[in-house]
Symmetry: C2
Subunit: 197 residues, 2 copies
């Protein structure tokens, strides 16, 4: 079996941006293939009584997170802007990922969306922004119409149900074999583990 | 001014154990002095409506944390046991830290308490356990009687108030100049920053 890591990301998640921008190079170094898994944290958070991001619910944690992101992006040479509103509505972007069949295009689209959102502070619920991201990723613009198709809606629903069943509680999360790793801070450990199983 | 880092820890915090066991060697490598700052997370959590550890309130996060700790301790050659109950009542241990005036003894006692709790699964609210920790750290056993003194109680109260004023929301936290770093995952960044200011 090929060495594989499942990368579970939520477009509304700041730390998912960090992982999305570096996972491909890091996984290649380890000879590990990536499965890109968009999901929605909203339903998982709602189950525990949270109706917005914990970074909004707990202001001290939120203030820290923005400063931490600012420092980390600077250290990694990544542009960083706080999108307004935060968190963004990530539903349509997540559906579009599932509508893109080509693996390379899918990865490029994910990076384009995260860059638009957290690199340029754009609103990723807007069709014009998503259209630019598809274009940047070299995806045929016809994919835009697929976002509303019942099978794509169902596919994202199933992704989020799987995330819940896997015990995911935040993003980014990485699954290697049976081992779950949470947070951009665990990406290297997750890849190391994936490369040994 | 000497290069200094403030290490804010809570004895009930699992990840504080990880930092307590490595901060001295890591700080020495960077030429940074450590201020050991015990505080209580209970009042900070209570202010946001939490009356136990978030790892108990959010079971998926809790399950993950125990597995993550198990993996990290194994990788670092640290013993690991889950104390019962969790979280432990850390009040008396935290007061004892403030009653120890010698810096080296203070650090040794902090390590002894964390090791008893998360290395051996002992109950750190028990006087017999704390007495062993004082002994192991080479602290005069008379310090035990200081834990209930009004000035020590007041000192811990003030520590927790300062933690709150600094915007601390979890442990371990590190303060270097004006920069706050949260979590054992940020210890190296915090020390690196402390060494440059």
């Amino acid at each position: 079996m090929a060495k594989t890591i499942q990368f579970w990301f939520e477009f509304a998640s700041t730390y998912s941006y960090l992982s999305a921008m570096r996972i491909e190079a890091a996984a290649q170094d380890k000879g590990v293939a990536i499965e890109w898994h968009p999901f929605l944290l909203g339903p998982i958070f709602a189950d525990q009584g949270w109706h917005t991001s914990p970074f909004n619910l707990y202001p001290a944690k939120g203030r820290y997170m923005w400063r931490d992101m600012e420092r980390l992006c600077k250290a990694r040479g990544l542009p960083f802007a706080k999108p307004d509103p935060f968190p963004q509505n990530s539903l349509r972007a997540a559906r579009l990922v599932l509508a893109i069949e080509d693996h390379r295009e899918r990865a490029a689209f994910v990076r384009a969306v995260f860059s638009a959102e957290f690199g340029a502070g754009q609103n990723i619920s807007e069709d014009s922004v998503l259209a630019s991201c598809l274009d940047e990723a070299g995806v045929h613009s016809g994919v835009m119409n697929r976002a509303g198709d019942p099978d794509i809606k169902q596919a994202l629903f199933e992704q989020s149900a799987r995330a819940n069943a896997l015990g995911l509680f935040g993003a980014p999360s990485f699954l290697a074999g049976e081992e779950l790793f949470w947070g951009d801070d665990r990406l290297d450990d997750a890849l190391e583990y994936a490369s040994t199983i």
